[in-house]
Amino acid sequence: MTLQEAKEKVIEEFSMYDEWLDKYEYLIGLGKELEAYPEEERTEEHLIKGCQSRVWLCSEKRDGKLFFKADSDAIITKGIISLLVGVYSGRTPEEIAEDDFSFLDNIGLKENLSPTRAGGLVSMIETMKKTAQEAI
């Protein structure tokens, strides 16, 4: 699946939910299913601090592709992380670095990404992009 197709799939899945609380139920479900984060990577270095939720992000490069693992102490953020990891993990650094991550707006999660100090999510996206730029 191309990056574009992966994004469209997420947008389509989200379009099934009209109600906000249903969207959250879906994200909570995704958050609970997220692959366990490796405990040895739960370090200060990998911690992205926010005023609210904390996010951990680590990555590795294999066969010219970047693979991400991430976690959060807040479950909705974890659900969004799960979406991001699902879409971007296993892509080339070029693809990630050039992407604008705007598909999250299309599924109505913009306010979770508002430039407040609210969450670690904005910083997480920045870190993913930076990691990708450095890996090129």
Partner: protein
């Protein structure tokens, strides 16, 4: 009366419970704000034209309204600032400049908002002074004995919140002032929260400084007050230099105007400050409306729920302002706030600008519901029902 309170969010009637951050504004305040911009916008004090005279009159009427509201002896003890933060910074800078030196001590408490902590840290950095911190007990009360024990001949000022923005426990300011004054130490009271729910009489409290924001008590944003006893204002040097704070200017030297103008350099918040008049009238009218009923209901609901840990559990209900910060076992405060938002409820989550207090309780954040006197018991009930639904979604 409050247009914003009639709004809907996500199709649900807004239940606004983030009043400790800022209050909503009544119609009368909005009209006054608009009126000042439309009817008599001019710079105050200097010009002799009609608009300027009107604007000056409105501005000074606000000073008198504030004086009356907090029971200050004289209008000249009321300095307008941009908010509590600016008021405290003014004192930390100006009082600090005159009275604090190498090795002197400043006392604050563990429960302070960053605005009543960082200005003092900056002062300590400039003057090589030492910051001492009074402790908070497990139930959220100030440990007065420990505080008294911190006071020394080097203590230059004690700065303490009347009510913590997290714990909502009303501190015994009169007692604190009396302890400090017995040792000749002045006291600054951060009244950002207290001004909304407590009847404040600065003469009765006998505090040396009292700082609060207009926007938390229904006035326009960018308004704030520093009350200070005249003797301090007379001795403190100016904080900022510029227009209106001077008496006479020459290249050889400048002399300064008397307080409060000495501390009001530059063009003031001309359109916003006069909104203090209708705002404080509204405050008098609303004061205490459903506070105690809401407090009792919220305390009952939150403390009887085994999933919830409330921080700031009062020994007597009357010690508590309707500010409730709590943790829910197994549910993150950010998740709860996001879900409640979609149910129409505005609450705060996170560290509430009080990181040291969060650390003291070993927390990364809390959920806070803070009520204003315009909130109703029905809203409190809707909050508790919705909170239960949100928790069930998460665990």
């Amino acid at each position: 009366m409050f247009p914003a309170l009639g709004e809907k969010v996500y199709g649900k009637p807004l239940v606004y419970l983030d009043n400790a951050a800022t209050s909503q504004r009544p119609e009368a305040v909005i009209r006054k704000w608009e009126d000042m911009a439309c009817r008599c916008n001019a710079n105050i004090y200097r010009a002799v034209h009609h608009f300027a005279t009107q604007a000056t009159f409105e501005f000074e009427a606000a000073r008198e309204a504030v004086r009356d509201f907090i029971g200050a002896a004289d209008k000249s003890e009321i300095v307008f600032t941009s908010g509590t933060t600016a008021s405290i910074n003014l004192v930390a800078y100006s009082f600090g400049e005159r009275f604090v030196g190498d090795g002197d001590e400043i006392v604050v408490t563990e429960a302070e908002h960053h605005s009543n902590l960082v200005p003092w840290q900056l002062l300590c950095g400039r003057k090589k002074a030492v910051l001492k911190v009074a402790k908070v007990t497990e139930d959220g009360y100030l440990d007065l004995e420990q505080l008294a024990g911190l006071l020394s001949p080097r203590t230059k000022i004690v700065s303490v919140a009347q009510v913590s923005n997290v714990l909502g426990i009303i501190n015994p300011i009169k007692e604190i002032v009396s302890i400090c004054h017995s040792k000749g130490i002045p006291v600054l009271v951060d009244g950002a929260q207290g001004i909304v729910h407590c009847t404040v009489d600065v003469k009765d409290l006998d505090c040396d400084f009292y700082a609060f924001s207009g926007h938390k008590i229904y006035a326009a944003t960018g308004t704030g007050v520093l009350y200070a006893k005249k003797k301090w204002l007379d001795e403190m040097p100016p904080f900022m230099g510029g227009g209106e704070m001077i008496e006479s200017v020459s290249f050889e030297g400048t002399t300064f105007a008397k307080a409060p103008h000495k501390f009001e350099a530059g063009t003031q918040n001309i359109s916003a400050v006069p909104t203090m008049v209708p705002a404080l009238e509204t405050a008098k009218m609303l004061r205490g409306a459903e506070d105690s009923a809401i407090c009792e209901y919220m305390l009952d609901s939150l403390t009887s729920d085994p999933r919830i840990t409330l921080y700031g559990v009062p020994r007597r209900t009357s010690d508590k302002m309707p500010v409730f910060s709590f943790a829910v076992k197994g549910a993150h405060h950010e998740d709860l706030a996001l879900i409640l938002d979609k149910m129409g409820i505005a609450v705060r989550s996170g560290q509430m600008c009080a990181e040291p207090l969060m650390r003291r309780f070993g927390l990364t954040g809390l959920l806070r519901a803070s009520f204003a006197p315009y909130n109703t018991l029905d809203e409190a009930k809707y909050f508790i029902t919705s909170l239960d639904k949100a928790i069930k979604m998460l665990i």
